[in-house]
Amino acid sequence: MRARPVFLESRGLLTLLLVGALAWSLSAVDWKGPLVHTGGAGSALEFFGALGNIELSPSFLKLALEACLYTVAYAVAGITLAIALGLPLGIIASGTLARSTKVRTPVVVGTRGFLAVTRSIHELVWAWLFVAAIGISPMAAILALAIPYGGILGRIYSEILNDVPEAPLRSLRASGASEWQVLLYGRLVMAIPDMLSYSFYRFECAIRAAAIMSFVGIAGLGYQIQLSLDDLLYGQVWTLLLFLVALIVLVDSWSTVVRRRLVA
């Protein structure tokens, strides 16, 4: 084997950089002063203490359930629109339909660039922009979810489509299939299980994001959490958090069931 200086390898260099960054950030901490806010321990104790005092009155459970429905509704609308945006853009960005590299390169670079712009802005920033533009409305929250999520889905879809094994596609072509037919009959068919499981994961993210969209004023779990926090009713906060966890677990198991049926 050829001996190579380890520090010249990119991985070694990256490690060095990261360790350096950590050391630098530690040097910025004021070690002499108190590290934790003095009243923090008391607040934390109070918050976790409320675990034994979770609010379970029927009227509050009904309120939490209603908040869940709102959050899920926004997440479903947002992710649906995101898939509708991401699927065609992802197919275009994969460059699989273009025949010549002359067409492919500008189309792929252009689409990827557009997707990068949409997802480099966080959904909360989009929400702020849309609220400024069209006012506080469910539409603002849904669009704020759909645009960055569409960008993320498009990017991932294009990569999944590109990573499909080539051999079956080659024999579809040999059987006389056009590029569109290869896409529909081979590429998408093989990519769909992975695309679906990633979309489900994004749906989970959309639920979390929809929950904290409360700051633009839309109803939902986040809004209720904010109200209960303001009143220091930690028991209610726990109830709402448990509902959020239950939602995520539910979506997760749903995705497992669907994926198991698709992947043999």
Partner: protein, 248 residues
């Protein structure tokens, strides 16, 4: 049917061929022999229009391969079957067989067929001929290697090309199944007067099922003879590893 290749090919991951000229007549059964990396797959891929040679030309029925429309026109003349990884594993057997008809269908037809397969009887007939009619609705990834190879052959039956190019179709099968499959393949070719060009390693199969043998080594043509004229010495020379002497 004429296939003549006269090309060499510095192509990533495919072996370069050096000035090979061949003529294969309609209905002939030709075996391509040669050690791994000798250019058998490259030759088959060039003949099937999967890759283009840098130099030289391929004529099919006296027409340059490049002038044939890829898709429908080429697919009706030449069909290819590979060693493995040839089918879409997520689709049902029926859908994979019907892929042989894609050249005849439009894009919308193909989309509809994914939901509700068209011309289902063609798949049923083809699978029946290959003895796996009961696998029609099975998911292709659940089939054994030998069964998948039969599905690929059923797809060829549905595609009905004039010539079949098979790239080591039995390499991943045990000897009994290899013999069985080769028998089926040659039967199909004989019945409908198809041309069959196959690369393979078993000299015993070559002697039983083929009329002509082509030897390739390092991308060069070593021999092109009727099977009866191929001697053991020629085969030894073809597969001999340079510098390795087996004594005893």
């Amino acid at each position: 049917m004429t296939n003549s290749t006269n090309g060499h090919r510095p192509y990533p991951r495919s072996v370069a061929l050096v000035r090979i000229s061949l003529e294969i007549r309609s209905g002939e059964r030709v075996a391509i022999l040669g050690p791994s990396g000798s250019g058998k797959t490259t030759l088959l891929h060039i003949m099937g229009g999967v890759i283009q040679p840098d130099q030289g030309s391929i004529l099919i029925n006296d027409r340059p391969l490049g002038s044939l429309r890829p898709g429908r026109e080429l697919a009706s003349l030449v069909g290819i079957i590979h060693q493995q990884f040839d089918l879409v594993p997520h689709l049902s057997v029926m859908h994979n067989v019907m892929a042989g008809r894609l050249g005849q269908w439009g894009t919308l037809g193909c989309l509809f067929s994914l939901v509700s397969p068209r011309e289902r009887h063609l798949a049923v007939d083809a699978l029946g001929k290959l003895g796996i009619a009961d696998k029609l609705y099975e998911r292709t990834s659940r089939l054994s290697g030998g069964e998948q190879q039969r599905v690929a052959m059923a797809r060829l039956l549905v595609q009905t090309p004039k010539a079949i190019l098979a790239d080591e179709p039995v390499a991943s099968l045990d000897p009994a199944r290899a013999e069985d499959l080769m028998c089926l393949l040659t039967d199909i070719a004989r019945e409908s007067g198809k041309t069959l060009v196959t690369s393979l390693h078993s000299t015993q199969l070559v002697r039983t099922y083929f009329s002509r043998a082509i030897g390739l080594r390092n991308g060069e043509l070593q021999f092109d003879l009727p099977v009866d004229a191929v001697t053991d010495n020629m085969l030894d020379a073809l597969y001999n590893i340079a510098g390795l002497r087996v004594e005893g």
